[in-house]
Amino acid sequence: MMRARGLAFWLLLLPPVLWLGLLVIVPHVEIAVLSFSERVGPRLYEFGFANYLEFLKEPLYWRTYARTAIMSVLVTAITLVVAFPVAFYIAKAAQGATKAVLFLLCLLPFWASELVRTLGWMILLRETGLVSALLQATGLAAGPVELLYNDGAVILGLVYGGLLFMVVPLVNALDSLDFSLVEAGFDLGGSRIDVLRRIVVPHAMPGIVAGSIVVFMLTVGNFVTPALLGGKNGLWFTEQIYAQFITRFNWPQGAAFGLLLLVLSSAIVWIGLRLTGQGFGETMRRG
């Protein structure tokens, strides 16, 4: 469009280059470099693969890694399944004001801080908490029930945290679904499952992918929820990174872990996009 590049162009180019250069790209190069440095003595570091070998050698680390990956995918899937009927209801079954209200109500909890939401679950689930009290009061449980500090609680918290980011893109995608297509599907003899599988889901695919990527990223990179709801048996990989940086002051090891997590999340996002044939740019702009 503008052929001539004036001063304005270069001045506009400066901030994004500084931003992406100094806050995104170079720092990641830095942790890549850092992750290949190996301590050989006090304040003495050399190039080496020790940090990655350590990751491979120590079952704790790669198990946590795999656990985080698997649970994140699981959480994403559960979130999708939980959110889909609601999104479909908002997009297609609810009308007028109800629709707007339902949609807004959906957004509301997520303006509250993640910590606040997690606190809510802690109050509900802990042994002395509300759910336990209710179970005892109704006679469903004989004594206090500890629902906190286990993987179930973590998954619950993570699914809860991801719902908004799934519902919104799903509603957006489903909103544009022409309901006569669904009717045509039934008219041509399709069953509910057929129509869902052949018409609704393909139409919602961009929303499904956008929502899934965001939820997956939020889950895999989460810290608060597993740390506060998780039990004595569970660790999230972000906690490992945090531990290396903050409680063990072993930056090279932490950098290696960070890079591994980045590779993991990028790979899964990439696979997801590949499997569903969606593009990164469009998907992220939509999400």
């Binding site: 506009l12 006090p42 704790l60 004595k232 569970g234 490992q240 531990a243 409680t247 063990r248 002051f249």
Partner: protein, 356 residues
Amino acid sequence: MTNRRFNLALAGALAALCLATGAEAQPLRLLTWADYAPKDIVDQFTKETGIAVEVTLSNNEEMISKLRATQGSGFDLAQPSQDRILGPQQEFGIYKPLDLAQIKGEQFIASMLEATKKNTTVAGKVYGVPHIWGTDGLVVNTKLAPNVKDYSDLCGAGLENKVSFRTKRPTLIAFAFAAGMDPFASYGNKAAYTAMMEKVGATLAACKKNVKFFWEGKDPLLAGLRSGEIVAAMAWDTGGWKLNGELPDIKFVAPKAGALGWIDTFAIPARGRNDKGAYAWINFNMRPEIAAKVAASAGNFTASKGADALTQGKLKQQFQESFPQAAIDNIKWYPAVPAGIEDIEGKVLDRLKAGS
């Protein structure tokens, strides 16, 4: 066409960033533990010296990691434990040597001052002086868990889901002693130390069925002990005595293997900007009447000479009950931790937490 506006905005933002970080070097920025700088003490100090105090609460690992991240800047005075100075100092150089001439040595219990100086000496320079000390041992509900006499008893039968300890290095050290090993003697030998820690890790992993939760903050632990959800825990002495005041069945027990004695120090970060304030705070805090108040606030003992005369009788009595002379002699004081040891321990602790 938009250049001028954004240029201005950018310049303004940068200027704001610089301004926000510069200037105001006056207050003493203290990196310390909970309850070590109670408000009335801080107010009194400010009144006497005119120096304001900004308190940041922390613990050993965080202190080191914060100072490591800032290369020793951001704070003017820190309070790491005496055994946690040598290694990080060698590795990261985060403290500056103390000018002992500025510290009123006569206010300290001499033996403790000497021991601390010795442990915090790197390349001939002293980096720490003692402030607060105490011991870790067992807090036991003697009615519900009468058999807990040593650390290893926490893993005994009948205590399923009823005990607690921290996933921190004192736990490893304690269980090593309880298993008849001497971890301190192996500090210099990494291979031996690793083997020892692995063994302790295995013991603790097997013990996990007994653990209700790994405690971190003191409130949940005390609440658990109060309610009886927890019947025995590895914890600090005055915590036990505090509960003892409320519920006589709960006692602090100096374990057979020996209580673990720790000393928190004063150390000045390498890029501290208010050394004058730091030394003033140290000297102010070691005055017996101040030290007694801080010790009471923290619920621990002080290295200030003469302060114990001012502490209340109850604590003294509890101390004597928990620590007969043999138990005092059996206290294991942490020697300085060499660099690298914490990596070994860390991994064992991670594994314990992750449950693999």
